[in-house]
């Protein structure tokens, strides 16, 4: 009776644990070099043509950049606009910073997503799939840059965030914002090459740039990289995010799950048998459920 129960339970548990076997599947995928964009904030004029190009490309709200005075306050990306440019007053004068999804190397959002709706494509961009997403907003809770945005006022809301123009990339084109930039502040390419360009600029003009490339190591490295003339915390970047990829924070817990799933039932059955033995010794009578 006890043994039968044991086998029954172990069988159920094994089935429940099956998906866990593939915990690491994502990591073993074929390696292809990820793409990204290098943003040189010293070159940006604040014309916001990238904002316009982005919204036109994706059918989002197109801002009236001439008349809306949007630079007067710091904005966040929103469910209507995947990218925004902000102006910061620094001791070097005005600095303009474009903001959008960073397309992390090991993204928190995809690790959070229980439906794989947030997905890191093999080219590098993180895309969102409306046929899978169930709108739990765990990606929003997890993203260290607060990028995914949710349509709170729709009955069938979407998660809105930059997808690095994944559709365009597949046609062999650059992202719309990169295409639109008149000052070459945005440079599209493979991250390894972008890093070379970035380092070259920093080393060649040590007085012009701070000696740091934002995104090289932040949260384990991001697809979008930034160069700046002033320390990054002065132009709206969080510099306290660490260099650990965010999925690492839950790894330990996830790895312990199969251990618990198999170990604890065995332990409990053992305990149960022990107490059974004890009871039998005590009163020689079998106890039944209820």
């Amino acid at each position: 009776m006890n043994r039968r129960n044991f086998i029954r339970t172990t069988a159920t548990i094994s089935i429940a644990a099956l998906p866990l076997g593939k915990l690491n599947a994502q990591e073993n995928k074929e390696k292809k070099e990820f793409v990204g964009v290098l943003v040189d904030t010293t070159r940006c004029l604040g014309c916001r043509l990238c904002e316009v190009a982005c919204s036109e490309e994706h059918g989002n709200y197109v801002p009236d950049v001439k008349n809306d005075h949007a630079l007067e306050k710091i904005r966040d990306t929103s469910e209507k606009q995947w990218t925004v440019v902000n102006r910061f007053e620094t001791k070097n004068g005005e600095v303009f910073v474009k903001r959008q999804c960073m397309h992390c190397w090991q993204p928190a959002c995809t690790a959070a997503c229980l439906t794989n709706a947030m997905f890191k494509t093999k080219e590098g961009p993180i895309t969102w799939d409306g046929d899978k997403c169930m709108g739990c907003r765990y990606c929003m809770v997890s993203c260290p840059f607060d990028i995914p945005k949710f349509e709170y006022n729709k009955w069938n809301p979407k998660i809105q965030k930059c997808n690095m123009c994944y559709e365009r990339l597949q046609e062999g084109k650059k992202p719309a914002c990169v295409q639109a930039c008149p000052k070459d502040a945005l440079l599209f390419g493979i991250k390894r090459e972008l890093m070379e360009v970035a380092r070259h600029r920093v080393y060649s003009y040590p007085d012009k740039y701070v000696h740091k490339i934002y995104g090289e190591h932040e949260v384990g490295g991001t697809g979008w990289l930034y160069l700046s003339a002033v320390p990054f915390e002065q132009i709206g970047f969080r510099t306290d995010l660490g260099t650990t990829p965010y999925p690492e924070y839950t790894k330990e817990f996830l790895f312990s799950v199969p251990l618990v799933l198999f170990g604890v039932p065995a332990l409990l059955f053992g305990l149960n048998l022990l107490t059974d033995r004890k009871n039998e010794l005590n009163k020689n009578e079998r106890w039944e459920n209820e």
């Binding site: 994502q26 928190a108 997503c113 439906t115 409306g130 739990c136 009955w155 965010y246 039932p265 209820e290």
Partner: protein, 399 residues
């Protein structure tokens, strides 16, 4: 042929029985009904807007606060409160401590309903709930996601609890054979259920591990999963004590003489368990506090708020439990259990809502609609509980 006829006859009989059981019993105009019925109706109206006009039409959720009261209270706190079932089934079925046998059924029922209603409230919060099927049928398994694990374990645990409770249903419906069969499954279901509980109680905490930059450092720790697990033990025990007080008033005539007698012993035992669990929890908290050198954070509003939670609603009820057990004072245990429950609410809400994005300008606070819907969930659960408790043999008379 005749077999079939018998079966149909049986079916008809059961159907009649069911119809008869459906009818309300007792008085209609009780204070509870007068309060709960309008709230449940109002909640339904609010939910209508929520599903046609979007979450924003009834909640104060924002881009900075993607999770609010429904997740923080209904799901995260509600599930901690429902932890009593796995602890009691552990004590009774695994350790075979007969003393608590008389409260097993009612605790399992409470746990089962809590999961159905509180974990079920998760669905209300989903923006695209029709896709909930994706991670269940295997369309898209996000194996790397803590939420994937937690929601799967919710589901499996509900099944395990249902199996644990099914002998009661079978007894009620007079299906002797079924009862025998499902009773034999109990131990397996219990062990499976305890394992799942350990995982999803801690998993609820693990959900917040990636929100590291957003949670106030006094509440963030890599040990959140362990803290959540340990605190679910005394949350569950306190909830059993608290519910016990109420059901002993409300369902007096359903509870047999003998179980009244041993009730005091049971409460004392539960109080002792809670005191120990709380002490372990407090010890962990203190270790983390010292290890992370968090005293530098203590001298502002958040520091004081943290002390209110940890001293006022963990350490003090912990001492109260210990004192009350030594002096056999049921009254103090009752008060301590209420304090401990408030402490759990504070802790879960702090992590998920209050100390989450603590430094942003537009703080979140729940809208009245969110609160009404939460009350609706709680009241519907009580309705379901009352319906079952007055019909099925939940409070054991004989034991």
């Amino acid at each position: 042929m005749s077999n079939k006829a018998v079966l149909i006859g049986e079916f008809r009989k059961f159907f009649k029985f069911l119809i008869q059981e459906m009818k309300p019993r007792g008085k209609w105009l009780t204070p509870f009904n007068i309060i709960s019925i309008p709230i449940i109706l109002l909640g339904l109206v609010i939910l209508f807007f929520r599903f046609t006009k979007g979450l924003g039409s009834v909640t104060n959720l924002s881009q900075q606060f993607p999770w609010g009261f429904w997740i923080g209270f209904d799901v995260v706190t509600g599930v901690a409160f429902a932890g009593g079932a796995y602890i009691i089934t552990f004590v009774v079925y695994v350790m075979r401590v007969e003393k608590y046998h008389s409260i097993v059924r009612v605790t399992v029922l409470n746990g089962l309903l809590a999961y159905i209603f509180y974990a079920g409230a998760l669905v209300l919060d989903l923006g695209r709930p029709w896709h909930i099927i994706n991670p269940i049928i295997g369309n898209s398994f996000g194996y790397n996601s803590v939420l994937f694990l937690v929601s799967w374990h919710f589901l499996l645990y509900m099944i395990a609890e249902f199996v644990e409770f099914s002998p009661v249903i079978a007894e009620w419906a007079h299906w002797e054979k079924v009862r025998k069969f499902v009773s034999a499954l109990t131990l397996g279901a219990v062990i499976f259920g305890i394992t799942l509980s350990m995982l999803h109680q801690s998993g609820l905490g693990a959900l917040f591990l990636m929100a590291k930059p957003k949670i106030h450092p006094l509440w963030y720790s890599e040990f959140i999963p362990i803290l959540f697990f340990v605190s679910s033990i005394f949350a569950g025990l306190s909830m059993i004590i608290f519910e016990g007080i109420i059901s002993h008033k409300v369902f007096k005539d359903l509870i047999g003489e003998k179980s009244h007698y041993s009730y005091e012993e049971i409460i004392l035992g539960l109080g002792k368990g809670a005191a120990i669990a709380m002490f372990v929890y407090y010890f962990f908290k203190a270790l983390i506090f010292i290890h992370e050198k968090q005293w530098v954070l203590i001298n502002d509003f958040w520091g004081y708020w943290y002390l209110v939670e940890v001293i006022g609603f963990v350490l003090i009820p912990c001492f109260m439990f210990a004192y009350a057990v030594r002096n056999r004072s049921i009254g103090i245990i009752k008060i301590a259990s209420v304090l401990a429950l408030i402490g759990i609410i504070l802790n879960r809400l702090n992590i998920s809502v209050i100390a989450f994005n603590w430094d942003v300008a537009n703080k979140y606070y729940p809208s009245w609609q969110e609160i009404v819907v939460t009350l609706m969930v709680v009241f519907s659960e009580i309705w379901a509980f009352r319906w079952i408790a007055t019909r099925m043999p939940v409070f054991s008379k004989e034991n």
